[in-house]
């Protein structure tokens, strides 16, 4: 298997598969109150814009520490439903310590370990979002905004290339990578997160068919990137979400038109919502009309105790 296929197809496929299995079988702890809304997407977008700038300003040691902590807590989040909180934290810290050790002694092994840790993080983070109620609409909007941002920050500005140049030399780089030649083949953590998040949100919001379409379209996209690289058409950095974002928006509009409003988590899980015996406006109108026709001047018998 070439490095391009391994990183650009196998990694997203593994992330999608593992995250979906996790979503179907495990419950991640979410806040007792609160549902993701577009306001939260706005905040996330602000963080996405600010983080690379912040990382570029900070010394490398600080950036590596922040990235390391993110990996540790992301892995702990994923493992928490499977083992006790302390054990999950212990495993996460140990794995991170191992990667750090290999970073200095055997960088190739560190790269593989980093890929595994990031895969674990993707499973937990995407499930946290979807199990906390993020909607297909919200992810589509986020994807569209990221497409614009990625275009600006990668193609028009040097932000992302500088960010990548800085972090690839550090432990816990936020990229999945494989070495197949003089230069590594990479896909950003954010790109894999988005492709996975889109699949889970579509599955929950519009059902299996939407989930399959999301997964396949994402993998077709990354396979196309592989073809582009191998044919020599694509060299250097390519912002994946510039294509993925509009795809997500189009799929959302398609499903919205076809199936209407998306499902809530309660509907998806088949949780019986309290019976809405409250009647529709049409039924109410009908009953009131019956009462008006039923004979008394007020349309119904006088209530007990009323005598003018």
């Amino acid at each position: 298997m070439t490095a391009e296929i391994a990183v650009l197809v196998v990694v997203p496929a593994a992330a999608i598969l593992l995250s979906t299995l996790y979503f179907l079988r495990l419950r991640i702890e979410r806040p007792p109150v609160g549902v993701f809304t577009l306001r939260d997407i706005g905040v996330m977008m602000a963080v996405v814009v600010a983080l690379p700038v912040l990382y570029l300003a900070l010394p490398s040691f600080a950036v590596a520490t922040i990235l390391g902590l993110m990996v540790v807590f992301g892995v702990q989040l994923t493992l928490a439903p499977i083992m006790t909180g302390r054990l999950a934290l212990g495993v996460a810290f140990s794995a991170a310590a191992l990667e750090l050790t290999f970073f200095f002694r055997a960088p190739d092994v560190a790269t593989v370990l980093n890929n595994l840790l990031l895969l674990t993080l993707v499973v937990g983070v995407t499930n946290l979002y979807v199990q906390s109620g993020i909607k297909v609409r919200d992810v589509a909007v986020f994807g569209a905004l990221l497409a614009v941002y990625d275009l600006v920050a990668t193609v028009m500005l040097p932000t992302m290339s500088e960010f990548l140049r800085k972090t690839i030399e550090l432990p816990f780089p936020p990229v999945f990578a494989a070495w197949g030649g003089p230069l590594p083949v990479m896909i950003g953590l954010g790109d894999v997160l988005m492709l996975t998040l889109w699949t889970l949100a579509s599955l929950k919001g519009y059902g299996r068919a939407a989930g399959w379409l999301a997964a396949c379209s994402g993998l077709v996209l990354t396979a196309a990137l592989v073809a582009g690289i191998q044919s020599g058409l694509l060299t250097g950095l390519f912002p994946v979400t510039v294509l993925a974002g509009p795809f997500m928006a189009m799929q959302y509009l398609f499903w919205r038109r076809r199936r209407g409003a998306e499902q809530t988590m309660a509907t998806y899980r088949g949780i019986a919502t309290p019976s809405l015996a409250a009647v529709s406006a049409e039924a109410v109108d009908e009953r009131l009309a019956e009462q008006l026709l039923s004979g008394s001047p007020l349309g119904r018998p006088a209530p007990v105790g009323y005598s003018g």
Partner: protein, 494 residues
């Protein structure tokens, strides 16, 4: 506002909760918008997930007493300084006992004399902060004494409304299709205002029917009102125990059954709710009864009764003490005592009260840890009655709850119970309003089995032959024009 705010917003919820917590710790006004935000978020969460997670933090159950102490000390001190500087009553009180307000804490609270209710009744304005903006003077119903006036600000009222909405969501799972029927005294305007406002925040409907003829109240509960998006019949009832008893009495006699009502739950408070009344009410209405404890004087602080039958108080809203019946010291575990309240800022800023003697008797519970769902909150026994209504005979203290539980355990008891105790040579003579032949014997036998010093039980078919019984809130009947005219005619004939 929450009906317009669609809610959700994970980060916004977290920020609102942080600000709320900061307000409590820093002693700053709570932003009403933050609580309304949480209300909207709970509703959005319920819509998305079909339910909400563990909401113990919204009940103030997350801090242990030892961890709370420094915060409580700080809040009491702040209240004392404010009360000294801004109220006539407490300036004189602190000066009279030679205590500086900054000395007040949980450990030194006993040095400050208790505030009798009569002091607040006589001159409510002496307790009003000079810096406050009083908006409304709430009057208690005065069934157990002269009415008490308590001034509240607009901020306090809005805060009470928002907190009631949280309670509606957390404790009663109220939904936007629900209809709340309120059968309280029309003089309890503040309580009604908060209940209606809280329902509005959730998007539920409400109607205040008042203490009308029970037939009218029952017909409102059983009647259908067709409104789009609403349950056709009221799904929640808010009333007093005595009025609930009156509805049960009339409802049973006129042949109503659980199928006639759409009620899911009944919020009942203001008076003792006995197990017997609860059983009959649950059977008649087919609804869950939730017992509450509250007093206008200490609003928004209130008590919740858990599944274990304990009365729990939220320490965030104030300090609750149980003072022994002599008023000299804290009650010992297992001893009867009187509930005494010190509502704190930011829940109260207009009428400031330190160690208000409520007159309500409870039993202080042993100090071992409880295992109920509200175990983290301090607790006492359920309400046992008013201090002035306790009766002592042959070393045994008989509480109004003892008598009410005895009477209302009998399915033939006429509700609301009318009773009086008279001391005779061989025990207490219990006079009860009833119409069942065997009632006297059954009550006497059961009373002796419960170790009550009952010499005799006398059943009266009419209240006019009984010694005076304590009034109940159901007596605050609101008359229709026809009823009023009939009464005027009767008085004219007399």
């Amino acid at each position: 506002m929450a009906a317009n705010h669609r809610g959700g917003d994970v980060l916004g919820t977290a920020l609102a909760q942080l600000r709320y917590g900061f307000s409590l710790v820093a002693g700053r006004r709570i932003r009403i918008a933050d609580i309304e935000h949480v209300v909207a978020d709970i509703m959005a969460t319920r819509r998305e997930f079909g339910g909400v997670g563990d909401l113990r933090e919204f009940r103030g159950t997350t801090m242990a007493a030892a961890d709370r102490k420094p915060i409580d000390d700080r809040r009491i001190r702040r209240l004392a300084l404010k009360a000294y500087a801004e109220t006539t009553y407490y300036r004189r009180q602190f000066d009279r006992v030679g205590m500086r307000p900054e000395e007040l804490s949980l450990s030194t609270l006993e040095r400050l004399p208790l505030t009798p209710k009569e002091a607040l009744q006589d001159l409510p304005e002496a307790f009003v902060s000079r810096r406050a903006q009083p908006w409304y003077r709430a009057e208690t119903t005065g069934t157990t004494g002269p009415p008490t006036g308590v001034w509240f600000s607009r901020y306090e009222t809005d805060l009470m409304t928002a907190m009631t909405a949280i309670a509606f969501l957390v404790d009663y799972q109220l939904r936007d299709e629900d209809v709340v029927q309120i059968n309280l005294s029309s003089r309890a305007f503040l309580g009604i205002h908060c209940l209606v406002g809280a329902a509005s925040l959730i998007g539920a409907a409400a109607c205040s029917v008042g203490l009308v003829a029970p037939e009218v109240a029952l017909s409102r509960l059983a009647g259908e009102a067709h409104l789009a998006g609403r349950q056709p019949r009221p799904t929640m009832l808010v009333t007093y125990s005595s009025y609930l008893g009156l509805m049960v009495e009339v409802g049973e006699k006129t042949g109503y059954g659980a199928g006639d009502f759409g009620l899911r739950q009944i919020m009942c408070g203001g008076e003792i709710l006995t197990d017997g009344l609860r059983r009959r009410a649950e059977r008649l209405f087919g609804a869950r009864i939730v017992e509450t404890y509250g007093m206008t004087e200490i609003n928004p602080a209130n008590g919740q009764i858990c599944a274990g039958g304990h009365l729990h108080f939220n320490p965030e809203q104030g300090v609750t003490e149980v003072i022994d019946l002599t008023g000299a010291r804290p009650a010992e575990p297992g001893e009867l005592g009187v509930l005494t309240f010190t509502p704190v800022y930011p829940y109260r800023e207009t009428t400031l009260l330190l160690r208000l003697l409520s007159g309500d008797v409870v039993r202080r519970l042993p100090d071992e840890s409880m295992h109920c769902e509200l175990a983290q909150l301090p607790a006492t026994s359920r309400l046992l009655g008013k201090h002035r209504h306790l009766t002592r005979f042959a070393g045994r203290l008989v509480t109004p709850r003892d008598i009410l539980e005895l009477i209302e355990a009998d399915p033939a008891a006429i509700l609301p119970s009318r009773w009086a105790l008279e001391e005779v040579r061989d025990g207490l003579e219990l006079h009860v309003h009833g119409d069942d032949e065997g009632l006297a014997d059954r009550l006497h036998e059961r009373g002796l089995a419960l170790d009550l010093p009952l010499g005799r039980v006398v059943v009266h078919t009419g209240c006019d032959t009984m010694p005076p019984a304590a009034p109940v809130r159901a007596d605050l009947r609101e008359l229709s024009f026809a009823e009023s005219a009939r009464r005027s005619d009767l008085e004219a004939v007399r």
